[in-house]
Symmetry: C2
Subunit: 427 residues, 2 copies
Amino acid sequence: MKIIDNPPRSQWKEICKRPQFDVGFLEEATVKILNQVKTEGDKALLELTAQFDKAPLQTPKVSPQEIEYACAQVSDELKKAIATAAKNIEKFHAAQKQTFAAVETVPGVCCSRRATPIEKVGLYIPGGSAPLFSTVLMLGIPAKLAGCREIILCSPPSSSGAVNPAILYAASSVGIAKIFKAGGAQAIAAMAFGTETIPQVYKIFGPGNQYVTKAKQLVNQQGIAIDIPAGPSEVLVFADEQANPVFVAADLLSQAEHGADSQVMLVCAEEKTAEKISRETASQLKELPRRQIAEEAMKNSCAVVFNLKEDCIDFINEYAAEHLIINTRDCDEIAEKITNAGSVFLGAYTPEAAGDYASGANHTLPTAGFAKACSGVSLDSFMKFTTVQKISREGLKNLAPAIVAMAKAEALHGHAKAIEVRLSIHE
Amino acid sequence: MKIIDNPPRSQWKEICKRPQFDVGFLEEATVKILNQVKTEGDKALLELTAQFDKAPLQTPKVSPQEIEYACAQVSDELKKAIATAAKNIEKFHAAQKQTFAAVETVPGVCCSRRATPIEKVGLYIPGGSAPLFSTVLMLGIPAKLAGCREIILCSPPSSSGAVNPAILYAASSVGIAKIFKAGGAQAIAAMAFGTETIPQVYKIFGPGNQYVTKAKQLVNQQGIAIDIPAGPSEVLVFADEQANPVFVAADLLSQAEHGADSQVMLVCAEEKTAEKISRETASQLKELPRRQIAEEAMKNSCAVVFNLKEDCIDFINEYAAEHLIINTRDCDEIAEKITNAGSVFLGAYTPEAAGDYASGANHTLPTAGFAKACSGVSLDSFMKFTTVQKISREGLKNLAPAIVAMAKAEALHGHAKAIEVRLSIHE
């Protein structure tokens, strides 16, 4: 791991840059796929699935028999693990329900806020080498808790035409019945525009490759809401001299194994600590099954050392990590000073892996510095809030001078008139 | 007003379509402006301001003297009105502060959620024929309440080089000091990328013309958050036979006067009611100062009649109006059945104009059917939520079997290892 010693603030922006990829070629290809599915529906979807997933299908729909068969293939150990994770995710997300009391801003003027579920949502779950069935829980459970009426799920089939059994089991365990075999930009298109088989939804959730991300961006511009701008996963670990280098190295590598485009960062207040952790990381890397992926990711990564703890904190806030592990003696105190992070993990026994699966917190989080302005997925992500106002005649009288003066100053006389006609009539 | 009688559901999508404009030409022009400001900063900004606003400026910065001068120009009546509106907006938005208790999902596993303000936000306020100083309050007050550290405001200057005095007064009254003379796509570019004078922000708020909207979309793709997808304003009024046609017509026209691209819809359960209101609207239209604008908008508009009240409600939810006025005897009962709307106005004495200015609710709302998935601006729009997890050794032991089983099933052995190394050490 490259160690950068006390970089001046003028260099921070450069150090905080995430790995850049040339994605210019993506847009044209993605637009073409979106248009194809928009105009030709299922026919285009099945053709693209045959082309990209090598799976010749009659229909994108996963049948109840397929779900049943998949459930039988999942081991009891994994079923138990999924049940534990689901229970914790449900507990944490159920606690996020908000109540909002009505406010009488002036006598006779009552304002309130109502939460309603988004009626139709679509979840995208990548397949491939690491089938993210955990993401089914992270998206499906809050969608159910929110009360979304129609929840659909798309995941690419293998070349045998089947969706990964753990994904089907997880979906079925949270009560999602409408599951479709579709991957990539074509799956996003199907959910955004609808096909003969796949219903159109109002908001699309879930991670994916660069085509999926680009497709989500493009349909977002056409009025379909999306969860958060997605990018490669990342972690920043802040470690002090008491942190066990074995723990820290394992945390860095658990992030690096996600993908060659992942980034892991280490911040320390002592150069010796950074060196120890760097050596331990190199040593653990050798034993990792996904070593080749992690090695690539480690090339995007570095350790940054600052003598002043305040600089460490400022740098951490500038980086705005998706996952921030604070493995220091004073972790609670440091956490109070963190302004930008997707999810924070405190102390020696809180690895990111716990939050990825089973602590109960959500693992769909803002990457690439978006934590400066965005939140991760929560119960609210599946709801929307409507303000409701009710004004009595007396209330309107109280507000009238202000409304009329402002409307006229904005040259909107029709607005003023909507008040005046009401108050000119004697009841 | 065209009256459509009991349209079948197959026609609803077509009826709910918002006025369409050819915006193909926009993208190229907007991209050019964005790039110009990104590479040349203030120089490009001043050139574009000279070109589009006909204002030759030395600096985009509004000086304290200019603010002072503007404040002296605003009438006492308007100052009092702004103070009333501000007080109500503050009261309603302050009540939106959430507290979130930590949850122990399993013994030793503590998850919580922390709200932090978005550090740097930019507000865009259109100038021109209807200077929306009310929007300064709607965005500035929640930004202040949230605790955003840097709040900047851009608004286009008139050809004399001055920003509208009421906009400067409103900004100053809510405590915004960094105000810049910049409009259109160039203002959005300046806030998104920063210039020598204008600081870069993390999230951009505010309405604007098609160039502003397109620029917000484009910078959003580059990682700058935006408030909500914006579009022309709209209202849907649901009126029954007891509704006073004079009130309803005034409400329809107060929306229509916003712009030629506005849309107003009327839904009734009786054709006679729709006819009465339609006649009254035509009659009031003649007296409106912004008659020409409103006339154009009324061409995009229609009344829809359904004999069944349930159909009325379903249609209203399908339309998903930015503003929904329910002027019926049973308005509270109906409101309970509304699933999609930006803001709801209940009863005879709750005109949209009240919410536009002074009831306390926010007037920055989702248009074009986005209310199906999006909320209007609220206190939360200026904050983000970070999950925080803290796990004890015991807690990790409790979670370990689930995490390890799931990580291995997802082929992420490094994740499993981050747990195993921690529990293999005896404390």
